[in-house]
């Protein structure tokens, strides 16, 4: 995020090399198969490389403390809120081609239409994307990326991976990012005109913008957590799943689990598939 997307590949390579060296000692200890609770926790975490991931997480926390957080704090103080919103709108508008491609890959025709309309309205009336005029016309921004497309096609996420600089992810989402990078016209503009700096600047600004919006939130999360690494891992997954479902929890079968006696496995039982216990959807309208 912080780096030029091109250097992300280099970073990924370094990470992979580093990772391999840590791997030798980096695998999580498998739980005792007889300990049913431990086995279930291990499977739910889906984090076989946890020691390595934790190490990189600490590295990232350190980089955040010395670099990104101070800079984002300064940015947040220096810029009035409307200017900050302008930056975000501009960055979001730049993502339109990638979002559109993935809307189409997923057969989300109506959302694809929204993306096109937003791009033209905001790029023109919205002064190059700085003002989000479209959302005032009830065409709200949505995210879409190739990692989500892969999930919609049925690809599993794979084991959790926390990489240096890049942060939390999994094989599916990292593959998606590479595809999105190739799908992005700005990538090719950068190469064609030998101004790859624009991509560096954009990635840097995205990191600062996002961090600046979450200064207090992340502090509070950290403060209120007894294992921040596990909290981030869980939030990452939940957020991705919400994005994959396009946030349409109302239309989906409920993800909320029933907490009943049958849900807690008896000794030796396989972990319970909570979704299996969901009731059929019955919708009643309030009021």
């Amino acid at each position: 995020m912080m780096l030029h997307k091109n250097s992300k590949f280099r970073v990924t390579l370094i990470a992979a090399t580093l990772g391999l060296s840590v791997l030798a000692t980096g695998c999580a200890t498998k739980p005792d198969p007889a300990d049913e609770a431990a086995v279930q926790a291990y499977q739910e975490a889906n984090d076989p490389l946890e020691p390595m991931n934790r190490y990189f997480f600490e590295v990232n926390q350190f980089l955040d403390e010395i670099l990104l957080k101070p800079f984002a704090g300064w940015y947040h103080t220096a810029l009035p809120d409307p200017a900050e919103d302008g930056v975000r709108n501009f960055l979001r508008n730049l993502k339109s081609p990638v979002i559109l491609a993935n809307d189409l890959f997923q057969g989300e025709w109506s959302r694809a239409g929204t993306t096109v309309a937003r791009f033209f309205i905001n790029s023109t009336i919205g002064v190059g994307g700085i003002v989000d005029v479209a959302s005032m016309m009830d065409m709200n921004y949505h995210e879409e990326d190739f990692g989500q497309t892969l999930a919609v096609y049925g690809a599993g996420e794979g084991p959790y991976l926390h990489l240096p600089v890049i942060g939390p992810g999994n094989p599916r989402d990292y593959s998606g990012r590479i595809v999105d990078y190739a799908l992005d016209p700005l990538t090719w503009v950068g190469y064609a005109y030998n101004v790859t700096e624009i991509n560096t600047a954009r990635a840097g600004l995205e990191a600062v913008d996002t961090r600046a919006r979450n200064l207090e939130a992340i502090d509070e999360l950290k403060k209120g957590s007894v294992d921040f690494y596990a909290t981030v891992r869980s939030l990452y997954r939940q957020q991705r799943n919400d994005l994959i479902r396009n946030g349409e929890s109302e239309q989906q079968a409920s993800q909320i689990k029933m907490i009943t006696d049958e849900m807690i496995p008896e000794d030796g039982d396989a972990p319970v598939d909570f979704k299996a216990a969901q009731s059929d959807e019955q919708v009643t309208v309030a009021e």
């Binding site: 609770a37 942060g167 919006r213 596990a230 957020q239 919708v283």
Partner: protein, 203 residues
Amino acid sequence: MLTLTSSRRLLIAAGLALSGWSLAPAAQASADPTSFIEEVSSKAITEMAPAAQETDKQRAAKLKPLLEQYFDMPSIARYMLGAYWRKATPEEQSEFTAVLTDFLALAYGKRFATYTGHQMDIGRVRDEGDGRSVVFSTVKLPSGDPARVDWTVEQADGSYKIADVKVEGLSLADTHRQEFASVISKHGGSVSALIDVLKQKVR
């Protein structure tokens, strides 16, 4: 570096996991899940909104009775411990439930107080069967997109209780479940170790 990509959601999750309640008082005995959430919301405003300037401890002291009154703490505690619940002794179970209430009151007090008082629109209610329903709402924040807040409400003995809150798809119960499982397995599967860690945190 940055922990989550579009962590706007994270912000909202952190800020709103238990908050963002603002509706006109409708404080009769709740006849349905919607009016129950309205009741909780108006109560939260009265109790928490003035606490924005107070210390964490003071806010936790105000939030704790709300959690005890409106949240089904025993079943939340049970879900958060997952399969470890069965491994725990009855004493550990009740000790965990007690310290969990303190922990959540402390962890969410500030976010609660800061975000209380924004307009909340209640949408549909979905009946999940077995006395459970989900109340869907959106909270309008001073800046940015409105946040989706989904309340899992359950009915027992004629009264309603909250079993989970999801903000932008991020569930309070799931988030802490993973975290607690991680602490327990770090301590060789000991639930009492988790209880100690939580006690340390709220002290």
